[in-house]
């Protein structure tokens, strides 16, 4: 297991960052190719809208 991880980090990393931009920004500063995934919680986190949507499923 550990050797697999070491092998991974021994190669060029291409990272997809989900969540806070700052994690991806830190990697970019270290010249690691990083793509920021546009993600937001369903219905923008609105409980009311999520409840309405769940009724239709």
């Amino acid at each position: 297991m550990m050797s697999n991880i070491n092998e991974l980090f021994g190669k060029e990393l291409k990272v997809i960052n989900m969540g806070l931009d700052s994690f991806g920004d830190d990697l970019k500063e270290q010249n690691i190719k990083t793509v920021q995934m546009r993600w937001r919680p369903p219905a923008g986190g609105s409980k009311k809208m999520m409840s309405l949507l769940s009724k239709l499923k």
Binding site: R40, P42, A43, G44, S46, M49, L52, L53, K55, L56, K57
Partner: protein, 422 residues
């Protein structure tokens, strides 16, 4: 179970949209051909609005239309008449039509008549006036009124005769070709206008009109890259109207703005007739020299019917040159188009984007997907000056207010609750 019911309804709505066959079948006088039109009615873009709530460009266009009709002499008498309540203000959408920007139409104006050959329904739209000082941006000086009179006297009747010689014009094929030639059918209509002129020109030459009239008509159409917008819009309207009123469908069949409010209507809610409105947004875009966001009116016009049918902003990837007009980069245009697949029920079978390996444009906006993903439809639009009489000051990108979509979703769920389905 309810999800299957909704999805089946949406399959049906999408099938109707994709099977739509809009054709230009004639040109007539608004009073004679538009259902419910009267001499004292003004049709306008967007959801219903009253004079006191109308923004500058809409007010200017309404005043101008009354002066054009001879119902008022000047700004003062037009205002008085509009304040009196004697004039009926009604959305184009309540009369099977659409109008760009302020979208104001009055009884004497010539209108295009479009038929959805598959389902037999009709739609209507005025003829495009060109750029600069024009009624649709709220201008109403003598130059504007004189042009409208010429359109009524020469342009409309001449094109009517030319169209009779040509026969019905297949607008679906025209739009599909536009998309293959770098137009998206809302803010870029250059190739479509060229194709329209190419098709109609021999018949213009064959009309009974004077040579000078024929020259003037051809020059007028050629001077305006957006001439065909007033055909793509009603083509989309005729296509979408056939999909109105499908029970349990969550597909959007109308999006429209009156310069004060943005409104949407959903196929399966109250027969597709109920408006869900919220204050119109300001447009993020590029301004003509000498103007800035300070000068801008909020979002206005029925032209968002193009996005609702899967072209316009939804097809921006096919029109990379447009970013020089609305801002951003060609990659932004691609991103706008691809993100729209997240919120539609399907893809178009005829309107395709060569750059995306001829993928069909995202078609059939589903209110559930908009609310769940938080991705709002992208709209590619012109910016009107906030004051009447000035005209267009720029172009850019705008989105509908999320409130329209959230309110529609809530109403949809309440409707199902009443029926005991959820």
């Amino acid at each position: 179970m309810v999800m299957e019911k909704i999805n089946a309804a949406n399959d049906k709505a999408l099938e109707i949209i994709l099977n739509g066959q809009p054709s230009l079948v004639g040109i007539g006088k608004c009073l004679d051909v538009v259902p419910g039109m009267t001499e004292k009615t003004l049709l306008h873009a967007g959801p219903p609005i009253t004079w006191d709530k109308a923004s500058g460009p809409l007010r200017g266009a309404m005043m101008g239309a009354l002066i054009y009709e001879g119902l008022a002499e000047d700004e003062e008498s037009a205002t008085k008449l509009l304040e009196s309540g004697e004039i009926t203000l009604d959305p184009w959408h309540h009369h099977d039509g659409v109008g760009p920007m302020a979208g104001v139409a009055s009884a004497s104006m010539p209108v295009f008549i479009i038929k959805n050959e598959t389902y037999g329904n009709y739609s209507y739209c005025t003829l495009n006036e060109g750029l600069g000082k024009v009624l649709r941006f709220g201008a109403y000086n003598k130059e504007v009124i004189d042009r409208l009179k010429w359109m009524e006297r020469v342009l409309g009747p001449l094109l009517k005769e030319a169209l009779e010689l040509h026969g019905p014009m297949d607008l679906k094929t025209l739009i599909a070709q536009m998309l293959q030639m770098g137009d998206e059918g809302h803010n870029r209509n250059k190739s479509g206008t060229g194709m329209f002129i190419r098709a109609i020109a021999p018949h213009v030459a064959a009309t009974s009109f004077d040579l000078q009239d024929k020259i003037d008509v051809l020059k007028f159409m050629d001077s305006n890259d957006h001439f065909v917008l007033n055909l793509t819009m009603p083509a989309c309207k005729a296509t979408l109207d056939a999909a109105k009123g499908i029970p349990y469908s969550t597909i959007v069949t109308t999006q429209a703005r009156n310069g004060t409010e943005f409104g949407i209507r959903v196929s399966g809610i109250e027969g597709g007739d109920r408006w869900f409105t919220a204050p119109a947004e300001y447009i993020d875009g590029l301004y003509f020299p000498g103007y800035s966001q300070e000068d801008a009116n909020p979002d206005i016009g029925d032209s968002v019917i193009t996005e609702t049918a899967g072209i316009g902003g939804f097809a921006m990837a096919t029109a990379p040159a447009i970013v020089q007009f609305v801002g951003g980069t060609p990659q932004d245009a691609v991103n706008y188009s691809t993100s729209m697949y997240e919120i539609t029920h399907g893809e178009n079978n005829v309107y395709q984007i060569p750059f995306l390996n001829f993928r069909g444009t995202a078609t059939g906006i589903d209110i559930r997907k908009v609310v769940e993903t938080g991705i709002l439809p992208v709209i590619n639009t012109g910016i009107a000056h906030k004051d009447p009489g000035v005209g267009q000051v720029g172009a850019g990108i705008v989105r509908p207010p999320m409130k329209c979509y959230e309110d529609a979703l809530q109403a949809f769920v309440e409707m199902l609750e009443k029926e005991g389905l959820v």
